[in-house]
Symmetry: C2
Subunit: 531 residues, 2 copies
């Protein structure tokens, strides 16, 4: 498959501006062909205008049309075959097995949202039929449901080149809700982005929808990223990436004359609390599990545990020693980009300079800079020092974690209270441990979107009950998830129709309930039609 | 009943600072006793600390406890009897009949939220049971539900001294979700606020809950209002008032190190589109209905129609003439405060200076400044001028409306496209009119949170299907409503519990489903327990 190196606006490759960039393979630090053309403000404007135009059709399209689009995108992605995985591999350095799994997740997400859209109850239809004889005043007929917002901007993320990029979870949920999508491709995998964008555009065409339903732009985040969020026609944005970039987008969105939501998933330390019983009874398993969780994907998961709290004493010291030994045997791996690799090493240097922090262990294998290697590393400190040093509360993206020993259980709770917002928080404990940990559990529920017991936070299930979100800075809006079916709720708003005649109602709000939705009728949840 | 003039922190009247203020009755422009004590930053801090402390209990309280609290508040408000209505009357100038109705609505809202909390399905419980044998990886047990945020700040509004003030819709929905509430009392009705705050505090005590569940502070919005929103323990805020004040709170909340949501309901013109058939067939009724809707409550409803669009020609001219005649017969009325009355007259002066705008009619009765009167007024302009003059797109709070004639239907749609966000948009049309108005309806659904057909936007039903919200500047977050049962969703966030043992699960997430909630289990909505 030949790559054209262009942005795709409403299905058409666009020559774009004079500025070019290349993907650099982190596997061998080498420049990949072809050159990609950056676009500027004019193309942002064009993509948004076409998205807005397409919204007039797509925003009112039948649920079946939306579901078919999502499924067709999945089929078109699979039809790209091995070429997609190969390109993603050289662009990101991620192993083919991982990328095959990620493609499965991507396609699975698209199909899952197709099911959600087809079933339809997500739209939260509510009907209060008229009560013309009510005293002192009649009640009008009120019918409310969630409707799409309009054009949504999605930022591809570096660490999930398929599942959180061009046709990833944000795009799937925004399309599912009926919104046109404009993707700002991540510069680390422009070829992968082009291939997937082509698949989406073919699906849009195959479903007879206007091309403006989907565009994908290449360019710099600081320029076209901000321009996309500021554009008057943009109604929302989804982002996964660094805290600084996410906050910049969030601030730009809120400084608009008409602020819009930015769902940025940014930064999380994913603290793990190891209680004494678990340490005693499952120490060896804990070491193996923690090592896998910290190092998998070269530590480049947003749910990587970057903090491990235990209660000091012999057994936690022994645990730390054994964990350090295990981490020494973990091999360095190729990180996603030279920039991420540099940031990782800068982060380690910062840690080394923090008073009271010890570098406990580092991989026995030296990292190879020509392969953009990140090496597994463990640091350690104590609770009092952790509370004193703000640097220790910052995420280090890569195969790094920090062990923190506390004098006792009440100090563990105190540490938990002083954490910033997190995507996840984990407790390892026996039944006895947990029976006495109610306060810790309660504190952690304030701090994190997902609480894991006796497991590890990496591995985020795509399912109805998943919540992948959390208080700031984990995300900019703790009320919404970016993974799982509830992610669709980010891209919809309610509209109430008062006394609108049946001829002008959408099927979701008709008395007969032709779609068989679960609806709130007169305050009662029911799939029954209104008699 | 003797008023003490003090803020109420966790049930205790607080002496507060040296700065005093008085309520001024708009009925006779006279100072009312007693003096009220303003508080400052120290009291803000104290109220938040006590709220946070109370949250440890209240945030985990059983649904029945929350429901009982809401019902007890309702009872305590009713127990204040006529004294409450009398004080509200002298403080706001609103007639006793209106206040009696508003008290009914306030009590009704509290009881409605009690029902919602008791039924419980609002918490959107979702369970994906473990699949230990799934290939390639087992699925963990995932259980997710909405949980309260923590301390919520509510700003009392001037125009609903009961229903959107101390124990109004924001407070009721925040408490219903399990959040402690700190109310910043509106300075226009401090005595009413004190009485209602006392009722709430008595209910908190009667239910055996910690006093910090509720506090009410007197002070200046620019000072303690901003301090409340900036306080690190505040998790969300609800506001109803002016665009400038709402935006200031929103900006302060987003400038925090950890931004929090501010649900501000601010500004809406509530455009009414009169189509030719309706004009022809129901002209007289339209005039009567519109007059009532524009002048009721002296035009001080957020849903007052401030814009009326029609298609020019003889019949719309005739309508305008007859409407003007009707408005001349409408009497001036006492506005809520001298400041609101002044702003209304300033707004009229601004309109008079806008080129191409005609003052069509004004009440035949001269307004009495000593009674803080606002007088019904109608202005008129044409479509082209409306698009040219930004001043005409600003809300004038009071018994004012602007008639705009457009050359034809397509220009009506064009006008609709150029509106800012609105709480409501109304279409009057016959069946034939409406059959040809699909595009107008679609455009208006982008612009407004509620679409009214052949009715008037004033009169906001408190019910499950109501949506009282809309795109900016109608509100700062179009995804949420401030009226109706869905308002509870503003003050909750999901938490997902992974592999948490049954002994540590809340009843909402237990297999047995002891509360009989509608839950999403394995992606299916059901009230059945998990076998």
């Amino acid at each position: 498959m030949t790559l054209h190196g262009k942005s795709l606006i409403a299905g058409q490759p666009l020559d774009g501006g004079a500025r070019l960039f290349h993907a650099i393979s982190p596997l061998a630090n080498e420049r990949l062909e072809p050159a990609f053309h950056e676009v500027g403000g004019a193309e942002v404007d064009r993509a948004l205008l076409l998205a807005e135009e397409a919204f007039a059709v797509f925003g009112r399209a039948a649920a079946e049309t939306r579901a078919a689009l999502l499924e067709t995108i999945a089929d078109e992605i699979l039809a790209l075959g091995e070429a997609l995985l190969q390109r993603a591999h050289v662009e990101t350095g991620l192993p083919l097995a991982r990328l095959t799994g990620e493609r499965g997740r991507t396609v699975g997400q698209l199909r899952l949202f197709a099911e959600i859209v087809r079933e339809g109850s997500w739209c939260d239809a509510r009907i209060d039929p008229a009560l013309p004889d009510r005293q002192p005043l009649p009640r009008p007929d009120l019918r409310r449901m969630l409707t799409p917002l309009g054009p949504v901007v999605v930022f591809g993320s570096s660490n999930f080149p398929l599942a959180f990029s061009v046709a990833g979870g944000d795009t799937a949920s925004a399309l599912a809700a009926g919104n046109p999508v404009i993707v700002k491709a991540h510069r680390a995998h422009p070829g992968t982005s082009e291939m997937v964008a082509g698949a989406v555009a073919r699906a849009v065409a195959a479903c007879g929808l206007p091309g403006g339903v989907f565009s994908m732009l290449h360019g710099s985040g600081a320029e076209i990223g901000i321009a996309l969020v500021r554009h008057p026609l943009t109604r929302a944005a989804g982002f996964t990436g660094s805290r600084a970039a996410g906050r910049a987008l969030f601030d730009a969105a809120n400084a608009r004359p008409d602020p819009i939501p930015v769902f940025a998933e940014m930064s999380s330390l994913n603290p793990v609390f190891i209680l004494p019983g678990a340490l005693r009874e499952h120490g060896a398993q804990l070491i193996e599990g923690l090592k896998t969780s910290v190092t998998m994907g070269v530590g480049q998961f947003c749910t990587k545990p970057g903090l491990v709290f235990g209660i000091g004493g012999n057994s936690f010291e022994q645990f730390a020693e054994n964990f350090a030994a295990a981490m020494r045997t973990a091999a360095p791996g190729t990180m996603l980009t030279a920039g991420i690799c540099r940031a990782f090493h800068d982060g380690l240097e910062t840690m080394e300079r923090v008073p009271g922090v010890v570098a406990l262990a580092m991989s026995d294998t030296a990292p190879d800079a020509t392969q953009t290697h990140g090496e597994p590393v463990v640091f350690a400190t104590d609770a009092a020092n952790f509370l004193r040093q703000p640097a220790l509360h910052e995420e280090v993206f890569g195969p790094y974690t920090l062990l923190v020993d506390a004098p006792g259980f009440s100090e563990l709770v105190h540490l938990a209270r002083h954490l910033e917002g997190q995507l996840t928080a984990t407790i390892h404990g026996t039944a006895d441990d947990l029976a006495n940990a109610a306060e810790l559990l309660a504190v952690l529920q304030r701090k994190a979107g997902r609480i894991v017991v006796n497991g590890f936070p990496t591995g985020v299930e795509v399912s109805p009950a998943m919540h992948h979100g959390g208080p700031y800075p984990a995300t900019t809006d703790e009320r919404f998830t970016s993974v799982g079916t509830a992610a669709i709720q980010r891209f919809a708003r309610p509209v109430c129709l008062q006394n609108v005649p049946a001829s002008a109602l959408p099927p979701e709000l008709l008395d007969a309930n032709p779609r068989g939705l679960m609806r709130l009728v007169n305050g009662q949840l029911t799939r029954a039609p209104i008699a």
